[in-house]
Assembly symmetry: C2
Homo-oligomer: 205 residues x 2
């Protein structure tokens, strides 16, 4: 017996990632020691190193898994072939939901990506760029006026700002829930973006 990996091996790897993501999100990657991760997992540091080669491997797996999930959500929504309006509403709702389920991984992704080596960081950032590009494409379709296409990028970033920032202040046990926030974000964005003027082509000139 004990040939190959134990049957619980993959479960342990997942459990470790979840503990590590929580600690990295709370204290930051650099300030979290492998001893703390091991203790949170109820194992020795040596055992922890049995599952992951080094500290950076934890970070890379957390970020990769999160970005991969986000790209899967994009693909799923895109293949529904909804009109742009409904597609953006669906994307916002699904992303708020996804971020809420993966709050720790999301904070790690947004704050600790700088601690990865260049190759890993670029792969993760490429995934993020594809996600942002998918949002920007839908938003550009909602504002088909030719010269206003330049607004798609900043509007996309403002939308991500609202959603990303939500998870820095939404308390898991607070009055406000992410289910309540999703329609507020949607209303605010859909109500507001037709009012945005192209800089230099505004009504005041």
């Amino acid at each position: 017996m004990a040939r190959g990996r134990s049957p619980g091996y993959d479960d342990q790897r997942e459990a470790i990632l979840s503990h590590a993501a929580r600690l990295f999100a709370q204290r930051g990657y650099a300030a979290t020691s492998m001893n703390e991760v091991a203790e949170a997992c109820g194992m020795s540091k040596a055992s922890l190193y049995h599952y992951y080669r080094d500290k950076s491997a934890l970070l890379v797996h957390i970020a990769d898994a999160h970005v991969t999930r986000l790209e899967a959500v994009i693909a799923e929504v895109v293949q529904q072939n909804l009109p742009p309006d409904a597609r953006l509403r669906s994307l916002i709702h699904r992303f708020v939901e996804e971020y809420a389920m993966a709050q720790d991984a999301h904070r790690v992704l947004t704050e600790d990506v700088r601690f990865m080596n260049e190759d890993d960081r670029e792969r993760v950032l490429d995934g993020q760029r594809r996600v942002v590009a998918a949002f920007a494409t839908v938003i550009a379709e909602l504002r088909p006026e030719t010269e206003e296409a330049t607004l798609a990028k900043p509007l996309t970033m403002l939308l991500f700002g609202m959603i990303n920032w939500m998870f820095t202040w939404l308390k898991k046990d607070g009055d406000l829930t992410y289910e309540a926030m999703a329609p507020i974000v949607t209303d605010l964005f859909f109500g507001g973006f037709p009012a945005v003027q192209v800089p230099g082509a505004g009504s005041k000139s």
Copy 2:
């Protein structure tokens, strides 16, 4: 001669804070060593400790100075006694400007506040809460319907989300500038917030 502190003492303290803020913003507080701060300042670590008691004093001074500036902007705009609409436009414009000038301090404030001891952290967070409350008050005045006052807080946080997130992706040498973003944020928010429905009291029920 040489009674009291050298004439350049306060200038040195300011210069050190500026270098430390840049390093903390780039690498994170925990991952930045006092040796790196000293090197960036062109002095020995022992000299650095002449100006600041310890590493945490750098963090606290950066955060306190930034929050104090933000509270000063609030006070300045409030005493102009503008109508709510113009007051919020002014606040948005001034904050985007202020964040752009203090981009490093702002990132340190939003990411590294967790590394302060409890007393310092609570004082800084109290300052931030007063700033947020000032925005929420103006936004509540813009939506005077009684039951909709509950929306002031989430709308305020979405507005801060757009502005705060801007400085995570705006490149100092990029095509988009903060001067161009301020009116886009303003248009989006003013265009959108009248469209936001109170949860549970929406038009669909």
